[in-house]
Symmetry: C2
Subunit: 424 residues, 2 copies
């Protein structure tokens, strides 16, 4: 008998009929002889509706109270799901994050899980019950206040519980059939990936693939827990995220490139005319770090000998742009740079593949494909298994398609079906 | 410095603007130098909407899960209220029933409070914070499951917390100015009662007055906790429910009658042709008790000598009618009664007044008033401070008006203003 942890996102439980369908799926898993623990997000737009209510009473609601408010969303969906399962003749018990033993730090809105004590879940499962757990939420170790985990929180809850319960697999249900070689909305010929390594999946997540959050994949890797990303609208096998994707593969050689990710949510800031002195760059990035801004890529031009000045460009989440600009303006006199440029019309395109390690020609092929497609590269960054470029935002689609084709990722026919919206 | 517990019902927090208004009122109480603990119901129709969702996934949802679902309602309203208070520059902390220490038995849907351990509330108040508590909910002592308190639950939460915290007063905010001598919709000349005893208020509640639930008044009486029923839409003094309403009164004599209550929610069942033998009535009411049906009034006719049979009539909540009829049919052969009659076109009109004890003429005046109004009395029951009669449902208004006038309760001008709907 296997222990399966399943996670259903907001679009999978958007209304009563969706909830009944998910209940049938859960019962089928139980009937197949598995113990089942289910993690569920809030229904469809509930979170947005609650945030809207909060905005109506306070422009800047306290984090503690916002967490108290938002956690009502999962409370509703999990209770309804437990009822729907009971209506199919199976015992189900819903548990809040706190009841399920999800212990976090006290950082409201983006708490980190610091311990998992799933005693009540274990007890329920041992009694043959199906346990339904609220995703995205926990209880702080010190203050005993309700916390939320922030982005990717429900996926992370599922992986954390699966690890603590030593589950055989964590199934993440979504509205597509799995992880694709590129976003099917951009590349209709994108193919579903059957198996992918944690490392590649983490790079995909970091580079704009929204199907799994970086944090949840990191957690799974730490505990070597297999994740199965699959559609809640079909019974097809999805994508397995595992430590060694080739161990059970039938292919003789792993593909060089696993997928092409893209991200339109970043902007670029250029600090123009920075005096070319030791420590100036350090001051700039210390300033940004103090403002809690995450920098992605950085490029420093070669200093022009005549002026003794250089330009430093970096990318960051577009939403952090105003904060970053105002933080930098405050140190302009001290550093002595000339001006700031802000460009939110950029996009990042990334090639990801563990095979890259042993294939030195990848960069050349990628850049040639972009050149043939008439796409200009503004910035470049690489890791051992990834090459990312910054291009103009209106050239992202062309760049993704060109790269996908250049590495023979195109399928013979369209595979992807997108069924609905996205959850949290 | 006084400690004030305030309770706001669903209509007082129906939307964002209502919540902001309530927040101002709470802050004003705090600024006046009081410590404040607030108990809040779910917003407006939230509970009905959640019940509707439950019905969509399951015709008979398990009590544990229904409680989990419904408690999301107060979680939303209390977090929003705390945010609105924070936005006015005051510290507020919301607490679930469980966090507030409302310990109950495990009877889902109508749990009883068995202990109150308000340590976290005390701590918050000692820090100068305003504590906001979810009404209507608690946590079961044995299973640690979330429970709801059933009808009157939020009022009872407020009174229970006020008692445990040794508050100076429990203010119950509602959409009318207080307790009236009769329902102002029936008797426009009804007057607001300034002070009333626990006993009279309990009789009023038991006889159909919906402003306070019997259970909450019982609780307050046990701890001798003053309740102040007042409008959340005005700053006028409302009605004080206390042990000795005349101690501070300016009137030389207490009124004979405090108020006239009515109730249209009962029905009458007549068991026709019961053999006049010892134990038959006992069997009938044992049968009803086993079916968990609460009987109100009972009348047994004098046995007709010729037949040796009698009729037994009793009243019960109309909603319990089908259950009662089917339970009785099952024992028809054993008891040997002839038939059952069901009449849901009845109403109960009750005169309540502690002064009745020393004024023997009340019944005569009451019955004369009803006779003058052409109202036929079907059943009668009395307590030390109450006289109730069953009349035809379409005669209830006339009976209430006639009684109100006969005991000089009519005000010189209309006092009552009804501001909105009702909460739970």
């Amino acid at each position: 008998m296997a222990l399966v942890v399943q996670k259903y996102g907001g679009s999978s439980v958007a209304d009563a009929s969706c909830i009944k369908r998910v209940a049938q799926r859960i019962v089928a898993t139980k009937k197949a002889g598995n113990d089942v623990v289910v993690v569920v997000s809030a229904m469809g737009d509930t979170t947005d509706e609650l945030l809207d209510l909060a905005q109506q009473v306070s422009p800047l609601p306290p984090g503690r109270e916002l967490d108290m408010l938002l956690t009502a969303g999962e409370r509703i969906s999990m209770a309804l799901l437990a009822m729907a399962i009971a209506n199919l003749g199976h015992e189900a018990r819903s548990f809040t994050g706190s009841q399920a033993g999800v212990i976090t730090d006290s950082t409201h809105g983006k708490a980190r899980i610091i311990d998992v004590t799933p005693g009540r879940l274990r007890e329920a499962v041992d009694l043959g019950h199906i346990a339904i757990v609220a995703g995205f939420q926990g209880v702080s170790q010190n203050t005993k206040d309700i916390t939320t985990l922030g982005r990717g929180g429900s996926d992370t809850t599922a992986v954390a519980l699966a690890a603590a319960l030593e589950a055989d697999v964590c199934e993440i249900y979504t509205d597509v059939d799995g992880v694709f070689t590129a976003d099917p909305r951009v590349v209709p010929a994108a193919r579903k990936i059957d198996r992918i390594s944690y490392e590649e999946m983490m790079e995909m997540a970091a580079c704009g693939s929204k199907i799994l959050h970086l944090r949840c994949v990191e957690y799974a890797r730490r505990f070597d827990l297999p994740i199965h990303v699959r559609s809640s609208f079909s019974t097809k096998e999805g994508t397995w995220v595992v430590s060694d994707p080739d161990s059970e593969g039938t292919e003789m050689e792993q593909p060089i490139i696993s997928g092409v990710a893209h991200d339109r949510s970043e902007a670029k800031i250029t600090v123009v005319g920075v005096p070319d002195k030791v420590g100036e760059a350090a001051t700039i990035f210390k300033t940004l770090a103090d403002a809690e801004i995450n920098i992605d890529m950085i490029v420093q031009n070669v200093s022009a000998a005549a002026t003794g000045r250089t330009d430093i460009s970096f990318t960051l989440p577009t939403s952090d742009g105003p904060t970053a600009l105002s933080a930098l303006k405050k140190v302009q006199d001290r550093i002595g740079f000339e001006s700031l440029q802000f460009d939110d019309q950029i996009g990042k395109v990334s090639l990801i593949g563990a095979g890259m390690r042993s294939h030195p020609g990848v960069t050349a092929t990628f850049f040639a494909a972009l050149a043939d497609a008439g796409v200009n590269i503004e910035m470049i960054s690489t890791s051992e298994i990834r090459i990312s470029v910054i291009v103009g935002q209106d050239e992202v689609d062309a760049a993704v398609s060109a790269a996908h084709r250049a590495f023979d990722l195109d399928a013979d026919q369209v595979e992807a079906v997108v069924y609905g919206g996205t959850g949290r």
